[in-house]
């Protein structure tokens, strides 16, 4: 539902809004809300560094990633990103 700005509400709508104050705690924040905000702000104020170690064993890469980072073969999944590591001796 699209909200109408305070200065565009009818008197009845505005009275209805005032009735709602106190029914909810202000800034009721869930854990995902908090994490999303933190993540959004953090991206602005800091660079997120994820360190990976990859070593060549025979003909394939073995990737050592921190807990929480999914590794499938030579692919590393970080959030919605799929990062593919390839080895070349060129």
């Amino acid at each position: 539902m699209k909200l109408k700005a305070i200065d565009k509400m009818t008197d009845t709508e505005f009275d209805g809004l005032l009735d709602r104050i106190g029914q909810n705690d202000p800034d009721k924040i869930t854990l995902p809300n908090f994490m999303e905000t933190l993540w959004a702000l953090r991206s602005k104020v800091a660079t997120n560094v994820i360190e990976l170690t990859a070593k060549l064993v025979d003909d394939h890469l073995e990737i050592d990633a921190p807990e929480g980072i999914a590794v499938r073969g030579n692919e590393v999944i970080v959030g919605s990103h799929r990062i593919i590591l390839r080895w070349s001796n060129a």
Partner: protein, 274 residues
């Protein structure tokens, strides 16, 4: 004495109004941007001006003079006497909201012929709701810490001057604040995060209850324990039963459940006695 005129702060735009509305009607649905807009909206409303009885006051000054001074002492006193802070506090909070609304009509602080007064009443009711919610949480925490036998010094909420003290409490030389939500971390100015720890909470929609937790500077956490797991964004934890560490604005923080934090602090204080 009716409100004579209102001058809203320059920069108060529709997105700020929408963020304020959302925080009243459906706070959980607010996006990170809307939460940021809400903080800006409150700052802009606090600095907006109202002329009353020949005096020019900011909205924040108006709130302090006519709302805070009239209602907070009696609200805090009622909470301190209450055995059921949450239920009793909610009832008292709503009762006072109704009293404030009636006062706005009676004194002509809210005038249909002066539509800008809508912003004054909306700000005062919103701000009262926020203050009252904060005091309720703070008293719950103080009561729980005392019951647990933890040694701490707290500001006296019955004293107006102490309600605005630098820190809400000090534990083993660490200063802390009690925040009824994590909104304070939404301010991307780490200089504002000047305390060693923050006792706060998040809302669990599925269980319809709050979970208390603590965000602490990692050097303070290292004093009392030290073991943490790194928080790997964006794969965040489902709770804080295991302390997790994260970097924010160049500072390392630890988030941990309130219960674990309290147990560690008690152990730390006992070790200090030996």
């Amino acid at each position: 004495m009716p409100v004579e005129s209102i001058k809203l702060a320059v920069g108060l735009r529709e997105n700020h109004q929408i963020a304020l509305l959302k925080s009243i009607t459906d706070p959980i649905a607010a996006s990170p941007q809307e939460r940021q807009d809400l903080l800006e909206a409150i700052d802009l409303l606090r600095s907006s001006r109202v002329r009353i009885d020949g005096q020019d006051l900011s909205f924040a000054g108006f709130f302090e003079k006519f709302i805070d001074r009239a209602y907070t002492d009696k609200f805090v006193a009622a909470l301190l006497k209450s055995k059921q802070i949450s239920a009793h506090g909610q009832r008292e909070k709503k009762k006072i909201i109704e009293e404030i609304r009636a006062l706005f009509i009676q004194e002509q602080w809210f005038r249909h012929d002066l539509p800008e007064t809508r912003f004054l009443i909306a700000f005062c009711l919103y701000w009262w709701n926020a203050f009252a919610t904060g005091y309720m949480f703070e008293i719950q925490i103080f009561r729980d810490l005392r019951k647990s036998g933890l040694r701490f010094e707290a500001h006296d909420l019955r004293q107006r001057s102490e309600r605005y003290s630098f820190a809400d409490l000090t534990i083993s030389q660490m200063t802390g604040d009690i925040k009824s939500s994590t909104y304070f971390f939404s301010i991307a100015r780490t200089s504002d995060l000047s305390h060693d720890f923050y006792i706060t909470r998040y809302y669990d929609q599925s269980k319809r209850q709050y979970h208390w937790f603590v965000i602490m500077r990692s050097e303070s956490w290292n004093e009392i324990d030290g073991t943490t797991l790194p928080m790997i964004f964006p794969n965040w934890p489902v709770d804080f039963s295991t302390p997790v560490t994260f970097d924010f604005g160049g500072t390392d923080w630890v988030a941990v459940s309130y219960h674990i934090w309290k147990t560690k602090i008690l152990e730390y204080q006992h070790q200090g006695e030996q």
